[in-house]
């Protein structure tokens, strides 16, 4: 075991896969010589060569399109989109091509591409460096969508994603790169070295897609969440002194429906939390599933805590971010009527 932050854990995953599988290549803006703007690919070009860790032009559509072509020709590309906010020029290639290639060619052509991209706010990034667009991708048939919340899962999930024969969109909550964050920006930063999920095996291991992590078992309430909100949810439930069960989904497609439903059937109360905007967010899907599967077990309406339905404003970062107060309001509503 080693202590790693999330950046180091992701780096380790790519290092291992470059070493194990000669078909793995990395590509993206500033990822090669420089090692990425978040340092996630640091040292990998030096170690594996410029033809396996490729700097690319600033052209997300080109990056995804080329990754598809490379994958069709036997490589296993891991493409970085520098910020999730910059993924849209690649959207057509992802939605119309990457997601559907297997389907439209009856399995004769496939593109095992992993697209890594930092997402989420809390870093004063304004509307172009803070978005959480995961629901736009879960809505597309043929894409797997992953979002880890800690270094251990990040490494295991990224290895799984790279080894997966289907395309995976891998979101990295950048506010969690250096440590867990409970939503209070005035508290001193906590490093991963003090957190059990900062303990990361040095070698190869996988965390399966579609299996949620029960971060905390509890009896009174289920909080279904992922990414940055895992820690906000824990802090909010603790502050209310509730015995909450907190579920970190880790992957949205495939989704661990069993973990969600067995929890809600046990507690009878459900809050869904994500940083992305509320309207048509992934929380709506979870709420629908819970309603379909657990309706007769519910003791109160399902509540959602999410980002507001506005662009991410620079000046109002902490009024926008779904912090503990927003979670607490949702939790209180889910706890009524007693």
């Amino acid at each position: 075991m080693a202590q790693m932050n999330m950046v180091q854990a992701l780096n380790s995953a790519m290092d291992i896969m470059l070493g194990r599988d000669p078909s793995v290549v990395l590509m993206g803006e500033d990822i090669g010589y420089f090692g990425g703007v978040f340092r996630t690919t640091e040292g990998l070009q030096r170690k594996y060569g410029e033809h396996r860790v490729l700097d690319t032009p600033i052209a997300e559509g080109g990056i995804v399109g080329a990754a598809i072509g490379m994958a069709v020709n036997g490589l296993r590309p891991v493409a970085e989109i520098q910020f999730a906010d910059y993924i849209y020029p690649g959207f057509d290639q992802i939605v119309s091509e990457l997601a559907r290639l297997r389907y439209r060619s009856a399995g004769d052509f496939t593109a095992p591409v992993t697209i890594r991209t930092p997402c989420g706010g809390g870093i004063r990034g304004g509307q172009t460096h803070s978005q959480s667009p995961e629901a736009m991708f879960t809505h597309v048939s043929g894409l797997k969508v992953v979002m880890p919340s800690n270094p251990h899962d990040a490494k295991g999930l990224l290895i799984t994603a790279i080894e997966d024969d289907d395309p995976v969109i891998f979101f990295e909550p950048k506010r969690l790169y250096n440590g867990p964050f409970d939503g209070d920006p005035n508290k001193p930063a906590v490093p991963w070295s003090t957190h059990p999920k900062g303990e990361v095996p040095e070698g190869h291991y996988t965390v399966p897609l579609g299996r949620a992590d029960i971060v905390r078992a509890g009896a009174q309430l289920s909080i279904i969440t992922y990414g940055t909100m895992v820690y906000v949810a824990q802090a909010a439930a603790a502050a209310l002194e509730l015995d909450a069960e907190i579920i970190d989904l880790r992957s949205l497609v495939p989704l661990d429906v069993d973990a969600i439903c067995s929890s809600v059937k046990k507690t009878g109360r459900c809050v869904v939390a994500h940083e992305a905007t509320r309207l048509s967010g992934f929380g709506a899907e979870i709420a629908a599933i819970v309603q379909e599967e657990c309706f007769w077990h519910l003791e109160a309406p399902i509540q959602r805590a999410a980002g507001w339905d506005t662009p991410y404003p620079h000046a109002f970062e902490w009024e926008y971010f779904p912090g503990q107060a927003r979670l607490a309001a949702a939790i209180r509503a889910a706890m009524e009527p007693a």
Binding site: E50, R124, G126
Partner: protein, 412 residues
């Protein structure tokens, strides 16, 4: 290590190596012919690969592109460039001191924005990138307005919604800057198409970095501009670096960026971006061409990003430390200053006095701007503003969320 047949563009100098600009193809000052404004694209191909220069090494203006600006005009240009630089330095320091969250300098590229803005008409519509603060300054946007935007304070024209340096000014005909690169290029073409549809003489101009020219938006812009012969000036600011990535990765190794113009049927001009007179002259040429029905021009401004990409960047990790000092095209402010001194229209004393005056202007503007609040101190923007302008009329879900946000604030 296995080698592959894949070609990988080489950066000329990485940290620890000597700066090397031998790749740069230069033309002597005054050497490039100046075609008629109405010349056909097919007849002016060399303009896209040669380098239009007016100021020679001695500081004299030579050759057919000399715009023959009077001394007063040159002094204004010098003032705008110097103000841009002093403003940048001061805002960089304010970012380092935690007063603003982020900043982008234009060090070494001041002639691009200032000379181009001065060569255009005040009513022409500008679609800047985030490194064109010289356009804002040359258009006369008060420094206090710019600073309030940087501070996201109560006088911020963006009402706190944009990252620092993403200015706009409807009155100044300066379009809202996007943090996503190259998006403004086709928009500028569309604006110009509308001007043509409406029978107006105004033109549009837009700027992006050579790195951003890799985006599809760049190519859409050139195609639409060519198809409709839109009155637009499309500028590629080739400052050699896109964060850590050298211009070879944007396709600059094999052919100039200006040469993409003729490929689409658009006039392409490659110009010394640190030569105030040359930049002014080619912009004036392109503007006249656009206004007289000659259609679009793609201008490549060859310059050097002397500072970091932004305050989040550290170029010592990826390029030779003293690269900028060896840049063969020098510093735009120094070059125009030398020219004015040779004309007998400037002196070191006047320069020093101007510098002190502008220092004080920036300092006084900052004192005023911070009085309207910073992110940490003073008056604050009303947080309700977060929910406005998503739509013209606030829908019910946002009204509800605004109420929830107010309750959240009072619960904290």
């Amino acid at each position: 290590m296995v080698r592959s047949r894949l070609h990988l563009p080489r950066s000329p100098a990485r940290p620890g190596e000597a700066p090397d600009f031998s790749y740069l193809e230069l033309s002597p000052a005054g050497a490039v012919a100046r075609p008629q404004v109405g010349a056909r694209v097919r007849d002016i191909g060399p303009l896209a690969v040669e380098l239009v220069r007016v100021l020679d090494d001695a500081g004299d203006a030579v050759g057919p592109w000399n715009p023959h600006l009077d001394a007063a005009e040159l002094q204004i240009g010098l003032r705008h460039m110097l103000l841009t630089r002093i403003f940048d330095e001061r805002m960089q320091r304010n970012q380092r001191a935690g007063k603003i969250t982020f900043y982008v300098r234009s060090l070494g590229e001041e002639a691009v924005s200032v000379a181009q803005c001065m060569a255009l008409s005040p009513r022409d519509m500008l679609f800047p990138s985030y490194r064109n603060q010289g356009l804002q300054i040359a258009r006369g946007i008060p420094l206090v307005n710019l600073m309030c935007q940087l501070l996201s304070n109560t006088r911020d024209p963006c009402k706190g919604r944009q990252l620092p340096a993403m200015y706009h000014s409807a009155a100044g005909h300066l379009f809202s800057i996007s943090g996503n690169v190259a998006t403004q290029f086709p928009q500028a073409v569309g604006w110009a198409m509308a001007a043509a549809i409406k029978g107006e003489d105004h033109l549009a101009a837009s700027w992006l970095g050579e790195g951003s020219s890799a985006e599809a938006d760049f190519h859409y812009a050139l195609l639409f501009a060519a198809v409709y012969q839109a009155p637009v000036i499309l500028n590629v600011v080739n400052n050699q670096w896109a964060i850590s990535t050298f211009q070879g990765y944007a396709g600059g190794e094999q052919r100039s960026f200006a040469a993409r113009g003729p490929g689409y049927g658009i006039a392409g001009v490659r110009v010394d971006g640190n030569d105030f007179l040359a930049v002014h002259a080619v912009t004036q040429w392109a503007a006249e061409r656009a206004r007289t029905g000659g259609g679009p021009t793609l201008i490549e401004l060859v310059t050097y990003r002397a500072a970091a990409h932004s305050t989040s960047d550290d170029p010592s990790r990826y390029r030779a430390k003293d690269d900028a000092e060896h840049w063969p095209l020098g510093d735009p402010i120094e070059r125009l200053k030398r020219h004015l001194i040779r004309l007998g229209e400037w002196s070191e004393e006047r320069h020093h006095a101007l510098s002190a005056e502008l220092d004080e202007l920036v300092a006084a503007s900052w004192r005023e701007a911070v009085a309207y609040g910073t992110l940490n101190d003073g008056p604050k923007l009303d947080t309700d503003l977060m929910f406005e302008d998503v739509f013209k009329e606030m829908p019910a879900n946002l009204q509800l969320q605004r109420a929830m946000m107010r309750a959240e604030k009072s619960s904290r």
